[in-house]
Symmetry: C2
DNA sequence: ATGATTATGAGAGTAGACTCCGATTTGCTA
DNA sequence: TAGCAAATCGGAGTCTACTCTCATAATCAT
């Protein structure tokens, strides 16, 4: 949010160390699995003290977790009011993906693969998930002039996130599947669902 | 499956101990939370040795986990072939709920509440969930003469499970919501989705 | 250059899930 | 009732995420 671009040497070094630790961790997780990798190993691979790893990442899970959702939320909020819920989500998705740096996309996919695959990570993203659900309900409800806990809103949100998750699982497991177009196509099947 | 009803005193005692441990554990989890409860406390509450608790339940999570899905799977498999996927699921759901002992339902809901709420449990049910998804895809695909990894099958399954999960989350949090009727109503909104 | 601030290193320490094992009790069988 | 097998007990031991502390080194401001 308030990312000060003020680059003291100190800050730059910190950012570099942080990235180093994280990328070494991801490599180890990929190679030997999440549970089988200890924090000592991560520290050793990044050539820092174990306590330093914990200073940057309070929990092991934090080495993987992320938040690329805000962009999507923004896009959904600012979608034209005349669109139905499903259309709005499609538009927001397209906008989000388009605004992504393809370089970081690969690492993103790797992390997502782990999140959807490794139980511990699946667990610690629970809060994230319920948060996204709540947010999305709020937005879709507002767009249709309904309450956030309206059953119809809940159901549509559930259906939309259900298909998205299904596609996501597939895409993460098979590199030939393009998440964006596949998700768009999947959502198009739900266009019959309306509100209001 | 091969539940021998042969009741030696030994077996009866074992079953009783098992239930004792589990119900004491659930009580403690409800009262102080899952993470905040230690296995020692569970053992103490059930008045057995800690090692005995581990003999019955290899992991802490096993004290909560369960499998009431087989009934649903059976019902779905044997639904009339002329029904669409969503209708078939509705029917199977109704059948499953109808065949449940209302006495155990309460405890079931309690466990489900934890599973959907406590991260550690949410994690260890990952396998269960993916298993259910795969099974359901298989059945729906077979009913429509498609492949299990057909995109349409994946999408419909995703949507159906999405709404079900949404309703479930609600029902588990608010006792006044009746899971069965609410789920049926929610699914009725998806009837537009067809295959074949 | 110097003193203040901050990051890092190194290591000891804690907690709690889970394992192992020898001794004891308990139910089963003849 | 004697002997056998299974279950339990009690406790020592392991493993690893995570915490704390303090000394040292790097950066910053003046």
């Amino acid at each position: 949010m308030t990312e000060r671009p003020a680059p003291g040497l100190r800050e730059r070094k910190k950012a570099r160390t942080r990235k180093l630790i994280q990328s070494e961790a991801l490599r180890l997780f990929r190679e030997q699995g999440f549970a089988a990798t200890t924090m000592e190993q991560v520290a050793a691979a990044a050539e820092v003290a174990t306590s330093t790893v914990f200073r940057y990442f309070p929990t092991k899970e934090d080495l993987v977790l992320m938040d690329h959702l805000p962009a999507f939320v923004d896009a959904l909020t600012s979608a034209p009011a005349e669109l139905g819920p499903v259309q709005a989500v499609r538009l927001a998705l397209r906008a989000t993906v388009a605004g992504q740096d393809p370089a970081e996309r690969a690492e993103g996919l790797e992390r997502e693969r782990m999140m959807l695959t490794v139980p511990e990570l699946w667990a610690s993203s629970l809060d994230n998930v319920t948060g996204v659900v709540a947010t999305m309900r709020g937005i879709l409800a507002a767009r249709a002039g309904r309450e956030p806990d309206d059953p119809d809103v809940r159901n549509i949100t559930g259906a939309v996130l259900g298909v998205l998750l299904a596609v996501w699982f597939d895409a993460v497991r098979r590199p030939e599947v393009d998440l964006a177009t596949e998700a768009d196509r999947a959502l198009s099947q739900l266009e019959g669902l309306r509100l209001e």
